[in-house]
Amino acid sequence: MIQIDRIEKSFGHNRVLREVSFEVPKGCLYGLIGPGASGKSVLLKITAGLIRPERGRIVVEAQDIFSMADIELQKFRANFGMLFQNYALFDYLTVYENIAFPLRRMTTMTEEQIRDRVADRLKRVQLPGFEDRMPSGLSGGQKKRIGVARATVMQAPYVLYDEPAAGLDPVTSQRIFNLLRDEQRAAGSTVIMVSSDIERLLTVTDRVGMLYKGRLIFDGTTEEAKGSQDPYVRQFVHGLVEGPL
């Protein structure tokens, strides 16, 4: 389980997160939604231990990650897979080396095993044969899919996705969401997924939380989110033009 407990974060005078609290049960695919600049990506980075909040705790496997020493936290991050909003592919490595990077660093797999795993990932994200390409030669959608491949290659128990399908066409987008759900079900991993593609996101989530101006204004099941009568949640989930947002 991931427990997010009263997280507060500001950048200068800008309060990005205000007392955000929710729990992601073990094996749950949790969708985090909200308008732009509501703090979703920042919360994801805090959950991964990449940014320290001013107040609050992130508790994973009964451990408060921010009470760990830096070296301990660094090792603990090996339990997380993460997809960044801007892909964060390493420019000087090929696609193959990008996906193989965590396997080389954190496992004792042989080169043949790594090759097979990378090929499998590329096949799953529908980019077979892209091993020798450089990130600079890829489209935005292709980079996103390589990022998904790298985030899932370790089959980590906790995975954080920041806009996994941004920039993809509708068909590929739905395939990626389905893939991530299938991966999550097969591995039993605990996932937090941020996406602006509400329609497709809600086809794969178990629970949903909505951030608005730094506050969590909804936390419930996917069905509860779809049926919510809260005007903010209703407008956002159904993409309505009229409303308080």
């Binding site: 991964a48 990449l50 660094q74 991050r77 960044f84 964060a88 420019d91 965590p102 660093r105």
Partner: protein, 251 residues
Amino acid sequence: MGESLLEMAETAGGMGVLFGRILVRLARLRFDGAEFLRSMYKMGVKSVPIVIVTALFTGGIMVIQAAPIVKRYGAQGLLGWGAGFGTLREIGPLLTALMLSGRVGANNTAELGTMVVTEQIDALRALAIDPISFLITPRFLAFILTLFLSTLYADALALLGAAYAGKGLLDVEPSVFYNGLTSGLLNFGDVAVGLIKSVVFGIIMALASCHFGLAVKGGAPGVGRAVNATVVASAAGIFVLDYFVSFGISG
């Protein structure tokens, strides 16, 4: 004025903290070997052509400037010593450092800064990899080694350039130039002074370029500002440290 001083103090403090973190990793031999070799190739091997050209012409320029005095006082026999003294103790390490500050330092800052704004540094941390061990410490070492080795062959090439210029402008035979160089007025201490300076310059340039690269904020314009800051800070640092090292060694 106060704001500028605060900024300088913040920069100096940041570089000091980074230096400490690098030293800890060096002491524990915690740095990535492959990244070190990659950095040596990018910083050192790819700088060879520009260092060669700079060094050859530096030697020639020194002789051109000294020519009127040499002719007036008939000091052709001292040309080798003069070129050697100036090159080994000062011009060699100084100009090599300034050249590499622009070529290597700026490039390193831009690369690191781009990695920051595209979240590649965050991706490393998310993959449980310490960016200081993986990226920064290898670059720091490679920078110092590059400057040390570049200064060595730049010194040799500057003297070669000076010898050729001496022959062309002052009709000083290479053997006379060589005799002046090895007459005993110069010794290993003069070589050591220049190499010590190259290591000191390398440290300040490496710290400046890595610090400003990692501290980038504000997207692409931020990377540009960081590169500018690196070049300025490196140049200022080189001249300040040159003074103190020269003063410290000469007494």
